[in-house]
Structure formats: C-alpha cells, structure tokens
Symmetry: C2
Subunit: 157 residues, 2 copies
Amino acid sequence: MSMLESFGFEDIEIGQSLRLSRTVTEEMVRLFAAATGDVNPMHLDQNFAAATPFKGCIAHGMLTAGFISAAIATGLPGPGSVYVGQELRFDRPVRAGDTITVELTVQEKIPGKNHIVLKTVARNQNNKTVVSGTATVLPPPGKARVEQPAEPRFLPA
Amino acid sequence: MSMLESFGFEDIEIGQSLRLSRTVTEEMVRLFAAATGDVNPMHLDQNFAAATPFKGCIAHGMLTAGFISAAIATGLPGPGSVYVGQELRFDRPVRAGDTITVELTVQEKIPGKNHIVLKTVARNQNNKTVVSGTATVLPPPGKARVEQPAEPRFLPA
C-alpha cells in the first residue's frame, strides 16, 4: 500500500520543489475526452489534425494541467490541499508518446491567507517547456500520511 | 452525424457568448483520475474527504476546467482553435450530481496576434460560480464545419 505525505503551511519552505513524470498515451487522451466531453477533433481525429499546423493529433492542454494538479494533490503540499487558482500558458503541443515532467517550486508564502504560490512548469523529454504558470494552494492543516487511493482502471467499451 | 462549427478571428464579435452544460458523475471523476493519475483522496476516498472541511468527495477542479476547454474547442471559436492560455480560480467545490454550466464571453480581440480573450465562468445548478477566469485563444483560419468525433466510451475494468 503506497502512502501519500502532506505538508502544512509551516512545514513548507521557499524553493522546495517536487517532480512528477507521466508518459502520455492515446488512451489517456481518450479517457480525458470521456471525462470532460472535450471531443475536439484536434485530439481525436487524425485526418482533421493532420491538416492543421500541428500535423497530427495532440493531447488536450488540460490533460497536462491535470498532471500539475496531480503533483500538487499527491506531493506538494499533498492530500488535503485546497486548489485556489492556476494560471496556465500552453507553450508547446504534447503528443502521445511524450514523457512529461511537471516541476513544482514554492515561490511565495502568503501568511495572512496561509496560501502558497507554486511555479508550475511541465517539460517534455527534450526539456522543452510545454505548459507553464503558477498555482495558488491552501495547504492542509499539518503534516499527515494517508493511503494513496488506487488509480481507477477502465477498458474501452 | 453531429457537426461542429468554427469561427475565424474576423467572424468573432466582442460580447459573443456560448453556454455548455454537463452533469458531473462519479464515473467522470474516476475517468479524470485515470486519465491524469490525479488520485487525490479528496476525489476518490469518501472516508478521507468526509473528515475535511468539504465533508465529502469533490470533483477535480481541472475536470471543470476541462468543460471550459470543451466549450472552446467544440463551440467558441470551435475546432481548430489553439489554446494559448487559461487563468483559473476555483471558487467553490463541485460534487457528483452537480450540473455545471460553462459560459464563454468574448471580452477582447487582439489584432496583431489574432488572439481573442474569453471570460470563462462555470456555475452550478444554484447559479453559484464554481470556476472563473479568462482564456486566451487563437481562432482557426476561418469559418468551417467539421464532423464531431464520437465521445470515447469506457467501462470500469
């Protein structure tokens, strides 16, 4: 059983960072489309996407944003965090087969509100930035260890 | 066969708007977790979530952000749009059973870059704002009609 650790506001230091890597698959893109209803042909229709400047299907930008959310929720500050806001810039396309590494770095602590501001950067396997921005998060009340829920599993219907 | 229509930069007017509604289900939350790997117990573990200020599981904020992405990609400006950036504020929790209506409104046109800025607001069935912010989008080259891809379907494994 995997455990997740969380950090409270007082435990968090400026400059503290965390990395999380995920390799994008076509199935992940299709699961994201099923979850959100985002059936943009840019992500699902190879013929349509081939005729665009991207010359082939790309992943939803919000899928990579979901990796940022995952890194916050499971790592820094970890479970119990409340996501207050996120600025995103979609710098480059992501395709199935790309390995995306999200890096979170604590940039600022806002004592009155107990918010932290994280620099959030996602890079591909060639170290090119694909998504950049900042997250504002309310960390959980203090350090804790909780069981990591199993990743739900699905099969194409 | 459903068709999707897109608007080019010249076709888009300040104040133009679009609405899209989706009812959140537990399955959508689990599909989102499977797509992104975001296994935050706040979304998947009823016991954990019951002990937090939310008093029960809530949906990933980025799932609602995905509805905004869906509204942009399938409606305004429609397929062929390039998502440049998105600012998000997670104002209130969303739970399975909530019906979320995303409203996009064209706020600004930036002629040099051909970007448009959309006000993006998601409200629940009680007309309370759950996610707010702005999107920056590069619309497709001009008006077009394309086939809407089928929503991928999955069954729990």
